[in-house]
């Protein structure tokens, strides 16, 4: 380690307590022209109106926080800004000049750098090479890259972030947090005028976060504009000079810091006064269908959960808090280091396929990668989990599969023109219904639904809610993971809240409110 621990803590504390710099950072003095303007950006995908007439002004030297729930349109906005998506309407201005950003290269040329949530590091290039990927020319002499100079430059950038990583280490050998920091270093190295950070602290530790905040402070002093996306209210309060809240693809409000309280902002994100509740009919659950006690895995600590038949249990928490890992562990997809899982009153069977046959079902977060075989048709996808059940002899009858699939299509209202349509041509909502159909056919009694309505349009959403109700009425146990708090609150009878890979709270009945979840889930 290069720095004394005490010293670092001190610096960290200072940055927390005095996050603001001098008066030179007084942002957005309305006399200045904005450095970057997004004007009337509109973007639709099949079935989803992702951005609705979004306008945004970003001033040099300010931190502009964009707040919004998952699915509010933040990521689409960034991708449009970076030229990864083309906007249907609207345009981008830099220093008052209208610019065309058709490709990521254009954005780079204009001084816009983005730190994406999905990492774009090359596994077997080292840190320095990753930082300067595509910009090696600066270190080239006679066609050869001056490795020493490049590593020295990388060293400088890392030192600026207070990171003592070896610049020769491969990206593949880095942990998630380290990769995130390298992504940040990579963006910083571009000397960008506008730096977009998409939840940069989601995966990194507090100390690294503090370093990042110091860096942000230094950058803003140099008149760099930061567009900062985060869920963490504390960061928002501490960093944000201007805060724009997005909801359902539209700008709800854009305010200066201190103009709104935390409660007001949460309210604006949710879309109605915090604390309001939709009517929830109380259910009367039955026997436990799943009981997990002190489950530990490589990524989880001491998970204890109980799910009863006939109830919907939410699993809340920020992205990266370990929600998905919990359902994967329960499902048998990830190995368990210690702890016990009981399924339908007996010890859980060892392998995933046996758990499926016992009646467990998983609707994965990434349905395209983990839930569906995209090139195959609706019938293949809808029947795959129930083959063992519908065709106990092992003989497959296309006619019966056809009948079953037609039944499922009708039952779920899947908009496909036939059972043989390949699923990659279906819309997101219909794809999701196909995954559900797969488990309905399998006669599952315990459903683990990971973000069941992500990327799904409003109509399909309602149908999925209705279906969950039906399942529960039929005596199934349902676990729902969702980043959309209203959804959780509306759907669930009770909820476990996660933070840092462990369960930090359990809310039931009247306690189960969006505010209560947020308070437990965010870093305090």
């Amino acid at each position: 380690m290069m720095h004394g621990t005490e010293n670092q803590d001190e610096q960290g504390d200072r940055s927390l307590h005095t996050p603001k710099g001098s008066a030179s950072r007084a942002p957005g003095s309305e006399a200045d022209a904005p450095l970057l303007r997004l004007v009337g950006i509109d973007k639709s995908f099949p079935g989803v109106h992702a951005l609705k007439n979004v306008s945004l002004d970003v001033y040099a030297g300010e931190v502009h926080v964009i707040l919004g729930q998952n699915g509010a349109g933040k990521s689409t906005l960034i991708k449009t800004l970076y030229g990864a998506y083309a906007a249907d309407r609207g345009y981008i201005e830099i220093e008052g000049r209208r610019v065309a950003v058709a490709r990521p290269a254009d954005a780079s040329a204009l001084g816009i750098a983005v730190i994406f949530q999905e990492f774009s590091l090359i596994p077997y290039l080292d840190i320095a090479q990753n930082i300067f990927l595509g910009r090696e020319a600066a270190f080239s002499r006679f066609g050869l890259v001056d490795s020493a100079a490049m590593h020295a430059a990388a060293r400088t950038i890392l030192d600026g972030l207070g990171l003592d990583y070896d610049t020769h280490a491969y990206a593949a050998d880095l942990g998630v947090a380290q990769q995130q920091m390298v992504e940040i270093a990579k963006a910083l190295s571009q000397n960008a005028r506008v730096l977009v950070m998409d939840e940069p602290t989601a995966a990194i530790s507090e100390r690294e976060s503090d370093r990042l905040f110091q860096t942000i402070a230094r950058l803003t002093e140099k008149r760099v504009a930061i567009v900062y996306i985060s869920h963490r209210m504390k960061e928002v309060q501490m960093l944000g000079d201007r805060i724009t809240i997005l909801r359902d693809g539209a700008v709800v409000t854009s305010v200066l810091r201190d103009q709104k309280s935390q409660a007001e902002m949460v309210g604006a994100m949710i879309g109605r006064p915090s604390g309001s509740q939709l009517a929830r009919t109380p259910r009367s659950p039955g026997e436990p269908v799943l009981l997990a006690r002190d489950v530990n895995t490589a990524k989880l600590s001491d998970i204890s959960i109980e799910i009863l038949a006939g109830e919907v249990v939410g699993l809340a928490g920020l992205v990266g808090s370990g929600r998905t890992e919990v359902v994967r562990a329960l499902f048998g997809a990830d190995p368990i280091a210690s702890g016990e899982i009981a399924l339908f009153g007996s010890r859980a069977l060892a392998t995933l396929d046996r758990r499926v046959r016992a009646g467990m079902a998983l609707l994965p977060e990434d349905r395209k990668r983990e839930g569906l075989a995209l090139p195959l048709d609706v019938r293949d996808n809808a029947t795959v989990a129930s083959l063992w059940r519908s065709f106990t002899s092992g003989w497959f009858s296309p006619a019966k599969a056809e009948r079953d699939t037609r039944g499922l299509i009708a039952q779920l209202g899947i908009a496909a023109h036939g059972t043989r349509q390949s699923v990659h041509t279906l819309s997101g909502g219909n794809q999701q219904k196909v995954v559900l159909a797969k488990w309905l056919a399998a006669g599952s009694r315990l459903f683990l639904l990971d973000e069941p309505t992500r990327g799904v349009d409003v109509g399909a959403k309602a149908e999925i809610y209705r279906l969950i109700d039906q399942l529960v009425d039929g005596g199934a146990g349902v676990v729902v993971i969702s980043s959309e708090l209203p959804e959780l609150v509306q759907l669930c009878d009770r909820a476990y809240v996660m933070r840092d890979h462990r369960i930090v709270g359990h809310l039931a009945g009247d306690q189960l409110t969006e505010r209560a979840i947020l308070e437990l889930a965010v870093h305090q």
């Binding site: 099949p46 994965p364 569906l372 795959v384 083959l387 065709f391 497959f396």
Partner: protein
């Protein structure tokens, strides 16, 4: 309710699989027609049967390979497997005089090699390409060692019937091909195992998370590939009347070519056994045609390579157009 992203405006049109099969069939008929025009002798029953018999040997090696490739794997050891199985079977027949021992040995050895492949891939998590590549060397080496430079020849007539005999006027290898083709087809389309194999090939993670016991299914796929290599070794042995340690190796790449020309993608999850049969026939008929046109044998590799390239590019163009329109 949302409208699906694509609306196929030809609800009665052929499924892509059927269209691909039909396309290849039409191509074969066209080539056959052209060859008959050049030389009427081509269309004679004896020549057609002879050609089908040649194709049947290629098909048998390629059939199990097709299953493995559909399931998202690859088996480079089929040729070496065939060699070793044939050598062991020949030895068994020579020492016992009973062809059925040979059948048992060939099928046993073939299956065992397939099983070993499956185990290596499942348990040791070696990539299929490398595991079966290693197995290729091992099986080939054992065959050399076992044969020690000799040839085992002179199979009893009762056994040779598998390779040279006729049943209802049709050579037995063609019957065996029909049986294997039918069996594979039933396996793929009429058993749950087959449906799971397609699903595994298309998306292994999704298969696993849908409760498909992927490792067991994969093991079975490699065992089946070994089994068909064993069956093919019997037909080869009966046809050639002798076992040499060099018979299988030259078959590997043509077998893979037959699978690919048949429209099965190396990425897994699509294709079918009928395509492989047509692929084998297509490759054979082209060689046959070249001979008929008096084209020197030195051109054969060139033409085979060109056929493979044309086939994959044609499939690409067709699938792009399909998804482009949708």
């Amino acid at each position: 309710m949302t409208i699906p992203a694509t609306l196929d405006i030809r609800p009665s049109s052929l499924s892509p699989d059927a269209a691909a099969l039909l396309g290849r069939f039409v191509l074969i008929v066209l080539i056959a027609g052209a060859l008959t025009a050049v030389d009427p002798g081509f269309a004679s029953v004896s020549n057609l049967l002879n050609m089908l018999r040649q194709a049947s040997l290629l098909f048998l090696v390629a059939s199990g390979l097709t299953l493995v490739i559909i399931g998202g794997g690859l088996d480079l050891s089929v040729g070496a497997n065939l060699t070793l199985s044939a050598c062991l079977a020949a030895a068994a027949i020579k020492t016992t005089g009973n062809p059925w021992y040979g059948v048992a040995v060939a099928i046993g050895a073939g299956t065992l090699i397939g099983y070993a492949n499956g185990l290596m891939i499942n348990r040791l998590q070696l990539p299929p390409f490398l595991a079966t590549f290693g197995m290729l060397w091992v099986a080939q080496g054992i065959a050399y060692w076992f044969m020690a430079g000799q040839t085992i020849y002179g199979m009893p007539m009762s056994f040779r019937y598998f390779g040279t005999g006729f049943f209802l006027g049709v050579p037995l290898p063609i019957w065996i091909t029909l049986v294997v083709c039918l069996a594979c087809s039933i396996l793929l389309h009429r058993t749950t195992f087959g449906r799971e194999a397609y699903f595994m090939g298309a998306n292994q993670t999704a298969a696993l998370l849908s409760g498909v016991p992927v490792e067991r299914r994969r093991l079975l796929l490699y065992v089946l590939s070994g089994l068909t290599a064993g069956i093919a070794s019997l037909v080869y042995l009966a046809r050639l009347n002798a076992a040499e340690p060099g018979i299988g190796e030259p078959l590997l790449l043509p077998a893979i070519a037959a699978v690919l020309v048949g429209g099965t993608s190396l990425f897994g999850g699509n294709g079918n056994i009928g395509g492989t049969a047509l692929g084998a026939i297509l490759l054979t008929i082209i060689v046959n045609g070249l001979n008929l046109l008096n084209v020197a044998a030195t051109w054969h590799p060139f033409v085979n390579g060109a056929v493979v390239l044309v086939a994959i590019i044609a499939d690409l163009v067709i699938s792009r157009r399909r998804s482009g329109s949708g």
